[in-house]
């Protein structure tokens, strides 16, 4: 699974090198995320490259978020493309998850 993980100041950045997150690769995404969730509390998903997310991708993001919330951490997503944002808004995802424009904004969001 092409997830590039970097850690800065206790925040794990997960850059998803995917064109799409859909039913065909959602399992791989989940297994790629699980060690990150196990080791870190603050996680930022960088969706710069992701052009498309479907409902199963949505489910995987939600599941990651719930796990992090469960251990007192949180998940934020940055650099969401327009088309992905369209889906997120469709299911009112932006109400429960912070969608930030850049990594820096995400770091700041954690600081609050």
């Amino acid at each position: 699974m092409p997830l590039t993980i970097t850690v800065e100041n206790g925040i794990a950045f997960v850059e998803a090198n995917l064109d799409a997150l859909d039913a065909s690769n959602v399992q791989a995404f989940k297994s790629g995320m699980s060690p990150v969730i196990a080791e870190h509390a603050k996680v930022v998903l960088d969706f710069t490259h992701v052009r498309f997310v479907d409902s199963s991708g949505l489910g995987a993001i939600l599941s990651s978020m719930r796990q992090l919330n469960g251990k007192g951490g949180d998940l934020k997503i940055c650099s969401v493309s327009k088309s992905v944002r369209a889906l997120f808004e469709l299911v009112r995802f932006h109400r429960i998850l912070d969608l930030l424009n850049t990594r820096e904004e995400a770091v700041l969001a954690f600081g609050q």
Partner: protein, 812 residues
């Protein structure tokens, strides 16, 4: 006596005293002579008084009892003549003298004389000497010798009668006597063997040390028992068990040898046979198990080593248990039932089923069971012979898998080489195609050749024969058709497409040498649909007819030519048949796999049924029409596995320069999550390339996600994850709307089963249907009459007066 005339002879007259004395003398003389006479006879004689006291006995009696007369006279006879009978002393009250006196009559019998081996014949008789007092005279004859003789006669009869051969030899081993059994056994007559040594019986097969041991033993006066191989007079050999007993004389010297021989040839042969059979059973690779048929629950009474090796159980572990301990979770209950029933009826039975070893691992057991019957014919045991064919089965499965792979490869070849392009629409036409390869590779092929605007050629063909050669010939035919087209187009008539008859003739010329060489032929239908002229031209070479549904008349016509199949004759001219086409007409090209689908042996689906079906489904789109026909055929034949290739092309004639829409596209895919990306690309491509009216980018995102969710649902729910199942997306754009129809053959969808989505992040799923509804202006689901799910997604487009935004720019 003196003469009477002589005076000297005259009795002088003896004195009475002298006369008495002379008489006494004479009497004594007589008595003496009597005594001598009684004493000289061989019998012992005595008499007793009435109270059994011995009053007189002769010398023989005295010698017999071994006592002087002084000790016998006046003694009770039962104390002097002490007798034995039946191995015990004869008591006084049973003494023959007592019995004679008591009964007053003669008593006789044979008695043993106590303390000796002598046998006495005793006769006691009461007598009256004139005194009025009873006496008993007892005469005793020693019959020992006679008794012994009787005895030995008896023994000799017994020896004679015994089954075993008996030989008596002298100390030198020379035959002195043999019984009949010996004569029978050895084949020598008595006169041939008497006086001979037994060495004439030697076969040479008995080791010399056996004889050495034999002689050493018997010469030491000890009995010998052993086994010899001897030879009969006729040369045949036999095995005997022999015992030799030395007989010793009074002086302790050997007087005779008695040999008793038993022929054990047969016995040894049986034993040997049994040993061989036992070894055979023990050394065979087949597992053998014997169970009792008469004891409760039919316990195992024997297993051979192969059984132990195959099952992992030792004999000790299974003896007494029932064979079913080998059965387990992998065992087919049907096979065990068959076995049980056969055994209950005592019938032989062979099953192949999975059994389990002691360690639980399964193995494939080929088991043959038969009943072993007792003398009355009822089963006493069951014998099971089993072999482990796990390896063979694995090999068979591998072969089957290899065969499947081969068929798959072949059908890929077929799909790729023989089946035409997935063209779904052509200006003025809509098309449906369906090909179902049979289990075997066959030679059906079709092709759609886009000639020019409004002209489409449809080619369907069938190579006679099956297998890879047929499919390769089919592929060759397709290539030759294209080549013929190219070749003819380069000719003088390059402006217009070549005539169908010219194309077929060119293909025939190109292929006829190899078809004749291969003794093969191809049926072909080359049809040209020209909707500008509303005309169908068709070169039929022995193929199935073309069914032409004429909308205006609402009936079907079969178009059939008279040409021979390609490869029948070397030179042939090809004629065309023609038909006028009207809007809404349907043309059905098909292979004989459709019409020759059978119900039972002789009832074919046939052209009439096919015509009826075309007419019935004439209002459906071509894809749906074919699906419905297929459904009918499946229903008719009762199977969805076709023995022949099933190839079908349906064409619906529309209007030329169609006003039916701005764009129409059919995209076919399969139920595979990896195909989702291609689906999305198709959606984006269609929507952004609608002539003059592309879908705006913002809405395009929604169309993309909505279709993506719908296809995901079909894969996951309708097909329940089964890969490779067909999904058709029919895109249709008009000035007013974009309509996307999704068709699949999966499980029906029930809208009630869909949970309402939860938006607080507590649940991962349940968004799909919600998203679909959000993305489109209209969503319609129905299960159509052909067992398909039909999902119609509609997007209303903004009025054409609005200037569409170029793709890629953001819509806020």
């Amino acid at each position: 006596m003196q003469p009477t005339g002589s005076p000297s002879a005259q009795p002088t007259g003896p004195s009475p005293e002298a006369a008495g004395a002379a008489m006494l003398r004479q009497l004594r003389g007589t008595l003496g002579r009597l005594e001598i006479a009684l004493g000289s006879i061989s019998d012992a004689i005595a008499w007793t008084s009435a109270d059994e006291m011995i009053e007189w006995s002769n010398d023989v009696f005295d010698r017999l009892v071994g006592k002087p007369r002084i000790q016998t006279l006046g003694h009770r006879i039962s104390a002097v003549l002490v007798l034995e009978a039946n191995g015990g002393p004869v008591p006084a009250q049973s003494h023959p003298v007592r019995l004679a006196l008591l009964d007053g009559k003669e008593t006789s019998g044979i008695y043993g004389l106590a303390g000796t081996a002598r046998q006495l014949e005793i006769l006691a008789r009461p007598v009256d000497f004139g005194s009025g007092e009873a006496h008993a005279i007892v005469t005793i004859r020693d019959c020992t010798a006679r008794q012994e003789l009787a005895h030995s006669r008896l023994l000799s009869i017994a020896l004679q009668a015994t089954i075993d051969a008996v030989v008596i030899t002298d100390p030198q081993g020379l035959v002195w006597w043999v019984n009949d059994a010996f004569v029978t056994l050895a084949g020598y007559a008595r006169e041939e063997i008497y006086g001979q040594g037994l060495s004439i019986l030697r076969s040479g097969q008995t080791p010399p040390e056996t004889y050495q041991g034999l002689w050493e033993t018997i010469l030491a006066a000890r009995p010998w028992v052993g086994r010899l191989v001897n030879r009969r007079k006729d040369g045949t050999c036999y095995v005997e068990k022999q015992s030799i007993t030395p007989v010793l004389g009074a002086d302790g010297q050997i007087t005779h040898f008695v040999a008793i021989k038993q022929d054990i040839t047969q016995q040894e042969r049986i034993a040997q046979d049994l040993r061989v059979k036992e070894q055979a059973i023990a050394s065979t690779q087949e597992g053998i198990v014997i169970a009792s048929a008469t004891e409760p629950d039919q316990p195992i009474v024997y297993v051979n080593p192969a059984f132990e090796r195959i099952t992992g159980y030792s004999a000790d572990e299974v003896l007494g248990t029932n064979c079913r301990l080998l059965q387990g979770p992998e065992t087919d209950p049907e096979a065990s039932r068959k076995l049980r029933e056969a055994l209950a009826q005592g019938l032989p039975c062979t099953v192949e089923f999975a059994n389990h070893r002691k360690d639980g691992s399964p193995f494939w057991n080929h088991l043959s069971v038969a009943a072993v019957r007792d003398g009355k014919g009822s089963p006493s045991h069951f014998i099971g012979i089993q072999s482990d064919f796990t390896e063979r089965r694995r090999a068979e499965q591998e072969i089957a898998a290899a065969r499947d792979r081969e068929v798959q490869i072949a059908s890929r070849i077929q799909q790729d080489l023989l089946i035409g392009p997935r063209l779904r629409s052509w200006p003025g036409l809509s098309l449906g195609t369906l090909t179902i390869p049979s289990q075997e590779v066959a030679g059906d092929f079709y092709d759609l050749i886009e000639q020019e605007d409004g002209v489409l050629d449809v080619v369907v063909g069938d190579v006679m024969g099956k297998g890879v050669p047929a499919s390769l010939l089919g592929a060759t035919a397709k290539t030759k058709i294209l080549r013929a087209l190219l070749g003819l187009q380069r000719g003088p008539q390059a402006e217009a497409p070549p005539e169908p008859s010219a194309i077929v003739a060119a293909v025939h010329r190109a292929m006829v040498p190899e078809l004749i060489a291969l003794e093969c032929a191809i049926t072909l239908c080359y049809a040209r649909i020209d909707i500008r002229q509303g005309r169908l031209r068709c070169v039929d070479c022995g193929h199935t007819s073309v069914i032409h549904y004429r909308r205006i008349e609402d009936r079907c016509v079969q178009l059939k030519g008279e040409n021979l199949p390609l490869g029948f004759v070397e030179h042939a001219d090809y004629g065309e048949v023609e038909a006028a086409l009207g809007i809404g007409d349907i043309l059905l090209f098909y292979s004989d796999g459709l019409t020759e689908a059978r119900r039972g042996d002789w009832d074919f689906f046939g052209e009439d049924r096919l015509e009826t079906a075309v007419r019935t489904y004439a209002d459906l789109p071509p894809d749906a029409l074919i699906a419905s026909i297929r459904q009918d055929i499946v229903q008719f034949s009762g199977t969805d596995r076709f023995t022949d290739d099933f190839t079908c092309v349906a064409v619906r004639i529309g209007e030329h320069a169609s006003a039916s829409g701005l764009a129409h596209e059919v995209f076919e895919t399969v139920s595979d999550l990896d195909a989702l990306a291609a689906v999305r690309t198709a959606v984006r491509t269609f929507c952004s390339e609608i002539p003059g009216q592309p879908v705006p980018a913002g809405r395009l995102d929604h169309v993309e996600i909505g279709v993506n969710e719908a296809v995901t649902n079909i894969i996951r729910h309708a097909y329940q994850g089964r890969p490779g199942q067909p999904i058709t997306l029919d895109f249709h754009a008009t000035a007013e709307e974009v309509r996307i129809v999704l068709l699949d053959f999966g499980q029906p969808f029930s809208p009630e089963s869909v949970a309402q989505p939860v938006f607080d992040g507590t649940r991962d799923g349940g968004f799909g249907v919600y998203i679909i509804r959000q993305c489109f202006d209209e969503v319609e689901y129905q299960r159509d009459g052909q067992g398909r799910n039909r999902l119609v997604l509609k997007l209303s487009l903004p009025p054409p007066v609005e200037t569409p935004q170029p793709p890629g720019t953001a819509a806020s």
